[in-house]
Symmetry: C2
Subunit: 429 residues, 2 copies
């Protein structure tokens, strides 16, 4: 039974509701700190210890064949996600199943034996955010929310407004007012409300936390606040796809960007689930976290050997990673240390170089966030901290068309001429 | 045996070469006007009558199962394309297998029973050009060309330079100097040479024809000139994918954009091949051609009941369709008339409206070319020239991020505020 439209969905839904299949194999929310369990609901923090909640499952049997028979989208993994079995038939963006590019040219240039780029610029709004939003949309429907909202560094705002348009939901999203033009146009073209906030992403985020406590926002689905436990699960599909596309094998090493840190923790969770379900062989893997130097609170803590993340005020061209107070930072430190990975950062100049490097070797035009991961990959190889003989995957989570300014200064015509062979001869000599 | 690097590949290759599998099922080039046949070579015009050449095949048996077992790219149709059997393993962009979106919201708004959007913005460089370039790259390799070139309205330049980077070929591409910034950055970021020409696309095209006759360009593979017969075949994959994604069925009606007209003719060819091979049931289908009013030479000829296309000087925001002297225009007229379709055009204002319409109903942010097809679709439905009860497909061939200026004037934040609930209340009231 759907929630009545007038009901205010602050309480969690009953166990019966969870069991009617609307959340697929998900059975509860559990606290990542103290393990307390809650019924599935639009909640995100533990009442006992204020720790973050995450989705807990009872998977049953899941086979490779069952997955392979599914659609060319994240819905092939619906048996591993908090969504109903018929999710693929509902109007949604059907993101995922993006290319895993065998990056032989870049591997040779860096001195690696085997390198793949997981290229999430192929998603509908050209960033990995379509994955997480698609799960949040299903949760919003289940909880009877009619307005989707978020705080965003840009990519998420576009993903939310697009998904809301297609799902028939209202949208009202919040961004720092100084974002790239492409992200602003994209976030407003789909027809939802887009509100620019004078301030940093962290200011926007604080504003949204206030809003959700106010009657104005209390019946809204904030994908990265009250729907966050569901939303975050979408990032697991990156792990699933990489493993399946490698022929059901977890790579030895993976380089992942860190904004809030959520994506990295969910990739780790995804790999663990595949192992637990017997879908891949158990083997050690190392997760490397990548930040921009101008917003590197996790990298700074890692290098200082600390467990506490000290918030920073971001100043980097990698705006999609510019979260100065990353919620999942401590978990990122844990995972990097536990798996034998590392956390590293690169300068804005190194980011631009890495964007050019990836473009001219593999024909992939990455967002600044992709420059961060490829730049960190290059740095780790150069410093001997990444095994050059091990199978490596690097993530590109966004699209260069959204951060044109980063490379516009150097990515220009070789020459501009009149249509004359003589002029052409003179410029190519 | 590969052509020696010093050999000038103006002559056609021998029949033996064709039969070694490097061109897959392709067996010859044939003249579309007089039917004269030639060995497979880097030729594009009939020596007898100057008609355009196209690829002729000997397909043998091709099954649905064989195709479905292939990769999630155009290479699943390699048995229907002039490429070798092992093409998927070579470094290329692996384009295609883009989403066919069930556009229920847009259908309802227009009053159609069934509408799908074939969304080619999901290709690696976000336009359908990746499809045609991928085939041209294979032909270039077969003919021993080391430099890829083209005249382009923007999308093609990016597709060529990206594909060349990944394939390890040099690139030198030509565009009108006044293109959108996104297309200029994209076409130069991959590291090839990008030359802006002061003039229209038709000036650029004439310049390239001169260049190919000059010793400077005689050993270059111009994807849309001397490799055109191969290149053009890539558009057939749009027809194949649409049919397969509909459950192996040809739609009743399809709306296709017209620049040179090549894409439309190849979609027709693709449908015919599927019927001839028994992969789909034979049924009538109607092909509708869409142009921007500011560059509508084919539409003008159609409306005037003429067979001859009178070239125009383009003036439209739909720059990717701004070809004033479309090579395949007469074939487009033929096909629209033969299938019971039509050729129609829309104004720049209607293009912008249609971009917004598609975005707010389906979450798809189309390039101006997508505004042209959706705008023409809307016009044809409103005028009762399209059957509202018949299964309809409309093409979006490019990405809104490349033509931001078209909508930047209206796609803006609802408001910009300080992070305060009071300010927010005042702007959403």
């Amino acid at each position: 039974m759907a929630l009545a439209e007038t009901e205010i969905p602050t309480a969690s839904v009953s166990a019966d509701t969870a069991l009617d299949g609307r959340f697929g194999p998900a059975v509860a929310l559990s606290c990542r700190e103290c393990g307390a369990r809650y019924d599935l609901g639009p909640s995100f923090a533990c009442i006992e210890c204020f720790g973050p909640l995450e989705v807990a499952y009872d998977f049953g049997r899941v086979t490779r064949e069952q997955i392979a028979a599914g659609p060319a989208s994240i819905w092939r993994y619906r048996a591993l996600l908090p969504v109903p079995d018929g999710v693929a038939a509902r109007p949604n963006m059907a993101p995922g199943w993006t290319r895993l590019v065998n990056a032989g040219n870049l591997a040779r240039e860096l001195g690696l034996r085997s390198l793949h780029v997981k290229d999430d610029s192929g998603n509908p709004t050209h960033s990995f955010k379509d994955r997480v939003v698609a799960i949040a949309v299903e949760a919003a429907r289940n909880f009877g929310f009619h307005t989707l909202s978020c705080s965003s560094t840009g990519n998420l705002a576009g993903a939310v407004t697009a998904a809301a348009a297609r799902a028939g939901l209202d949208a009202c999203v919040f961004i720092p007012a100084d974002l790239e033009q492409a992200k602003i146009v994209m976030a407003s073209v789909y027809g939802g409300r887009l509100v620019g906030i004078e301030g940093t992403y962290d200011d926007v985020n604080r504003f949204c936390s206030e809003l959700i406590g106010d009657e104005l926002g209390e019946r809204w689905g904030f994908v990265n606040v009250n729907l966050r436990p569901y939303y975050a699960e979408g990032s697991k599909t990156l792990a699933y796809e990489i493993a399946e596309q490698l022929g059901w094998r977890i790579p030895d090493q993976i380089v992942v960007p860190v904004a809030s840190g959520s994506q990295l923790t969910k990739i780790d969770k995804g790999f663990k689930e595949l192992i637990a379900l017997g879908l891949v062989e158990e083997r050690p893997y190392r997760i490397f976290a990548a930040q921009a130097e101008g917003c590197s609170p996790v990298s700074a803590a890692y290098k200082a050997g600390q467990d506490v993340i000290r918030p920073v005020r971001p100043d980097t061209i990698a705006k999609s990673l510019a979260i100065g107070n990353p919620a999942d930072g401590p978990y990122v430190l844990d995972i990097a240390r536990r798996t034998g990975g590392a956390v590293e950062d690169v300068t804005d100049a190194e980011i631009v170089d890495a964007i050019r490097l990836l473009a001219r070797t593999e024909g992939i035009f990455a967002e600044t966030a992709g420059g961060v991961t490829v730049g960190v990959l290059r740095k780790l190889v150069a410093e001997g901290r990444l095994d050059p003989d091990a199978e490596t995957v690097v993530l590109n989570t966004g699209d260069g068309l959204k951060t044109l300014d980063a490379v516009a200064g150097e990515a220009r015509p070789t020459a501009v001429i009149r249509p004359s062979l003589d002029e052409f001869r003179s410029v190519i000599a």
